[in-house]
Symmetry: C2
Subunit: 321 residues, 2 copies
């Protein structure tokens, strides 16, 4: 069984890759909920939605959020009525938020709600929130502290980022299925998907016990770089790294995760960083990491399965030696 | 100035008739809120919406609710996700409920919210809720007590009605603009629109002081029959009258309002009841009351203005005699 930690677009693509090459019960995707927020009375979970929509084959490939073939009649009318429209909600996407909010108000946990939404969309893979408790990514910027969506969507990541913290993380705990996956005797590897390390993976790592679980895991922990050739495939990762005083590079991502990792996957474009990754004590894998279609996703997932298999055998050999 | 008490479709049509022949400031429509309810987290005001949409020229003429040219992508998706779909919410209509709910949660009164929604839709006429306090029509049926929308929409008025009450009415008060209209020295007439007397007008009459204000009004109070030839133009009025042991007829509507009325408007189809209406001490007007297009609405409004003018002169002559 593979446990994938994922955020939005990049994470969703790799989870979809694994979903194509593994049995549904052999995959758990623990998804960032630090981006979640309450808006117009609804509980919105952008990363969970991106992962679900991607697995259901209905994600919008252009935007990286929302649904393909979406319509905007609700939002256009709300705009005429003077309502808030900075966070775009399509007519169909809206149903997800309304259904989720109704189930949460009825007393269900976010894990239970997510399972219901997945079942209704024919998703067999276990997509689970990183936590059922609220964790909210807060962005410290040169304009003051901003809730994540205000920074990310409303302000389009324009304010200069000075730091991040994850409100509620230390009081939260991993969701039951995430926790169970970490402890599962059938676990074969933990994969940090090519999502933004700071915005999408760090919130999950901030949950009590998660870093320790990764550090002490008896199975390989590997990450896939979301930075290719110094650029983020999607989103503000490179900009954020510069603002945090770091060089946007795959190597810097490997350094960021550091001792948590047994393996690190870099794109061919960054092959010259493999040696420096290895010098960190992390086994590098150089391959094609840019996923343009479903086939690319499956191919990367297969290579990762081979990679963690090799890492596990090497570690076993090392332990035996 | 004319004060019109209105419910849904029939009331909205006559209000639209008045809006065509009066200056905007010369008309106040006090609209039933007994049908209002909370659904999927939104505050929904079906009668206010019908009146607003009719005045804005965007009402759906087939259904009697919602918007013309509406789309149903939200509702179709919600159905797939297992959500509640018995109350149909169109993609555009939804924006009204979301905006209203947001403004109410922000602390605005329903009167203030309605004014905002009217302004955004270019409606100059004062459309006001009968009350800013919650009044909820409860239907006593052979299957027990049902909240109004559960009876009306979910159960399609199928349960046999035994009685009605208006929860909260005695603790509520007329909205500021409704109260001001009742007391306005420029008031020329109070018109009970051809809405369902039991479901759409009685909740307004149940508010403290309203019956007294009508009974003691120095201006004519007239009603337009929603029953024509023993049938309701729209909705369950005739069925309800039968279940309450009454004969569905214009005359029975005149009896229902009784001493509140100075005048009563019947359709040509019910001309033979005019004498019996007169015998109740109510001046009858027999004319064409079925409003099929905007012209019919304006025509009926003009005849009503003439009628209340005649009634006022007759009363003046009587007082002078």
């Amino acid at each position: 069984m593979i446990l994938a930690l994922a955020g939005g677009v990049g994470g969703a693509k790799l989870v979809h890759g694994f979903a194509q090459v593994l049995q549904p019960q052999a995959l758990v995707a623990a998804v960032n909920t630090g981006d979640d927020f309450e808006h117009l009375g609804w509980h919105i979970c952008p990363d969970l939605d991106t992962v679900m929509y991607t697995l259901a084959g209905v994600a919008n490939p252009q935007t990286g959020w929302g649904l393909a073939g979406e319509s905007w009649r609700f939002m256009d009318t709300l705009e005429k009525l003077g309502g808030e429209t900075w966070f775009r909600l399509g007519d169909q996407d809206l149903a997800t938020h309304v259904r989720r909010t109704g189930l949460l108000r009825g007393g269900a946990t976010l894990s239970e709600v997510t399972a219901t939404l997945c079942m209704a969309q024919g998703i067999g893979v276990r997509v689970v929130p990183m936590s059922d408790a609220p964790v909210r990514t807060m962005v410290d910027t040169d304009e003051g502290e901003l809730p994540f969506q205000s920074y990310f969507v409303r302000r389009r990541c324009e304010p200069v980022l000075r730091g991040l913290h994850f409100a509620g993380a230390t009081e939260a705990s991993p969701s039951p299925a995430f926790r169970a996956a970490l402890d599962d005797p059938g676990l074969q590897a933990i994969v940090l998907c090519p999502s933004n390390p700071y915005l999408s993976i760090d919130p999950t790592l901030a949950l009590p016990g998660v870093r320790d679980a990764l550090r002490s895991a008896s199975v390989p922990v590997v990450a896939v770089s979301p930075i290719v050739g110094g650029q983020a495939i999607k989103g503000p990762a490179a900009k954020i790294m510069r603002e945090l005083g770091k060089t946007p590079s795959a190597l810097e991502v490997a350094r960021h995760y550091g001792p948590l990792l047994d393996g690190f996957v870099l794109d061919h474009a960054d092959a010259d960083a493999a040696r420096a990754v290895a010098a960190l004590g992390i086994t590098p894998l150089v391959t094609a990491t840019v996923m343009k279609d479903a086939g690319d996703r499956a191919q990367l997932a297969r290579e990762l399965l081979d990679f963690v298999d090799r890492l596990a055998r090497t570690a076993g050999a090392g332990a035996a030696a």
